[in-house]
């Protein structure tokens, strides 16, 4: 099929629809408004569930409820709205409910502004809600990935019975690019032996996160950790770009990885061996990929649209073997390819 020119936010919707989305629950906020708007039309015409909830908190809890019944459900929002959804995310992690949550990030903290940003890394990757849990976090950097990763995220969420977050940004959400809608419509799904779909003819099941009996919660946490270990082993993903001979390796995700790529091309044209490791999953973080290229002669540079969050994980991965620098801007400010190139030049000295 010919490629279609669509916004990242629309590509994301198409990915969810092709994955067999049963229910979308949303609440408006820029820069993700295309998602509820598009879904309000599509879901209804497909005879599926669309609810504009009374709040972000309600929308996230509707995802929890719908997924508990074995359905595929999604909610989307932008940074301030994602803060409001955190209660449900912690509960979903505790109850092992596989929903998909989309954050098209904008500037913060607080209500912030509507410009694209990458300041919610800590929130997405390090917790956000309470308790010892992880979301599986993907960071698409183009419209094609908004489509493909969203499509895939439902399978991954269900495979591990774990909520998945798509950590996007306002720029990737708002920009249009040609997208190849190459996925087959999913119509058959693995049977879920845990879901609450009516207990006629079988033992009743329950899914809960309140585990008061002596030692039960601790054991539950240990079981979760085992699952997280498996996810770390299986799902960490990164795109490597010209790293083999690189003396300077940029680590960057989402929109800033694209800006960085321009800078790397310019650096190479100037005879500087620069490359990039782009985390496609932020949790699990592609620690091994980074570790492999950490050498005393190699300098790392984390480029983010915030004032330094992912850089902490880069430092942990590098573990003192290479130097790690940072370049970023906050509050919707955008690092330019020239800024990145200048920093590369500075590191080269």
């Amino acid at each position: 099929m010919a490629k279609k020119l669509v916004k990242g936010n629309i590509a994301l919707c198409e990915g969810a629809l092709a994955a067999g989305l049963d229910a979308y629950f949303g609440y408006p906020i820029t820069p993700q408004n295309e998602v509820p708007a598009y879904m309000s039309n599509k879901m209804v015409s497909l005879g599926k569930a669309f609810v504009q909830a009374e709040s972000e908190l309600a929308a996230a809890n509707m995802v929890l409820g719908a997924c508990a019944t074995g359905k595929r459900a999604m909610t989307s929002s932008s940074s301030p709205g994602i803060s409001l959804k955190q209660e449900a995310l912690s509960y979903m992690a505790g109850m092992e409910i596989p929903g998909v949550i989309v954050n098209v990030q904008r500037g913060g903290p607080g209500l912030g502004n509507i410009a694209g940003s990458q300041a919610d890394y800590f929130q997405a990757v390090k917790g956000g809600g309470h308790g010892d849990y992880h979301l599986i976090v993907f960071a698409p950097n183009c419209a094609q990935e908004m489509y493909e990763i969203t499509y895939e995220s439902f399978d991954i969420a269900e495979k591990y019975r774990n909520p998945v977050m798509l950590l996007c940004d306002g720029i990737v959400g708002q920009m249009m690019e040609p997208v190849d809608f190459n996925k087959e419509q999913k119509t058959s799904f693995a049977k879920k032996e845990w879901c609450l779909d009516g207990c006629k003819g079988r033992e009743p099941r329950s899914i809960k996160s309140l585990l008061m009996a002596d030692g039960v919660l601790e054991q539950h946490n240990l079981d979760l950790q085992k699952k997280y270990e498996l996810i770390r082993k299986n799902e960490a993903r990164a795109e490597l770009y010209q790293v083999e001979d690189a003396e300077i390796i940029i680590v960057s995700y989402g929109i800033s990885s694209r800006i960085s790529k321009n800078a790397i091309k310019a650096a190479r044209a100037n005879g500087i061996k620069a490359g990039m490791i782009r985390p496609v999953t932020l949790w699990p973080f592609p620690t091994e990929a980074i570790k492999k290229y950490a050498k005393p002669a190699v300098k790392f540079l984390s480029v983010e649209l915030c004032l330094g969050q992912m850089v902490e994980d880069v430092r942990l991965a590098v573990n003192g073997v290479s130097s790690v620098d940072f370049l970023g801007r906050a509050g919707g400010g955008i690092v330019s390819d020239k800024d990145v190139l200048n920093k590369i030049m500075e590191l080269k000295k």
Partner: protein, 179 residues
């Protein structure tokens, strides 16, 4: 990389600068080139300024944001003032002399003044087609995407409103053929 054009289309909210951008991006797609389109969004409103950025290349595109634009369409004075400082020596700049006082910018030899709104209003009979006149004028100077693919893009973009296809193609040609 033989082709790399970063184009900003800027004007008043309501002048169709977002649509003009999508037509350019769609044309690039029709021509089998890589393209990105990025809008100003949200805080803009009718009567305020709006802009869209289109990047067209024969190679994978990194940033969708134009840090060193090679082309500008400015449909009103505010937009020309806003983006002129970002343009380089070799940039292609088209300004709408129907809404911009050309005398004020006389010293800047890069700017090509075209009475875009007037052409849309008088020749095409619909002032809303000014954005397409501008697209036609731009591609005359940039050569990429070509007229044939812009025509195809107009047909694709207006496939749900076929009554508007001819008018918009006429507008593109009016801009393209303006001397």
């Amino acid at each position: 990389m033989k082709i790399y054009n970063e184009i900003i289309i800027a004007g008043l909210g309501g002048q169709g600068v977002l649509l003009a951008g999508t037509i350019l991006a769609q044309s690039a797609l029709e021509q089998n080139l890589k393209t990105t389109w990025f809008p100003s969004y949200g805080a803009e409103m009718r009567g305020g300024t709006a802009n869209s950025t289109v990047i067209i290349s024969d190679e994978e595109i990194g940033s969708p944001i134009a840090f060193a634009p090679s082309g500008l369409i400015a449909l009103n004075t505010l937009s020309l003032n806003k983006f002129l400082p970002r343009m380089s020596e070799n940039s292609v700049i088209i300004a709408n002399s129907s809404m911009i006082n050309a005398d004020e910018f006389k010293s800047d030899k890069r700017i090509k003044f075209i009475p875009i709104s007037e052409i849309a209003d008088k020749e095409i009979g619909n002032i809303k087609a000014a954005n397409m006149v501008a697209v036609g004028a731009l591609i005359k100077l940039t050569n990429v995407p070509d007229l044939e693919n812009v025509t195809k893009a107009v047909k694709t973009a207006f496939s749900k409103k076929p009554a508007l296809i001819d008018l918009n193609i006429k507008a593109v040609n009016a801009g393209y053929n303006y001397k």
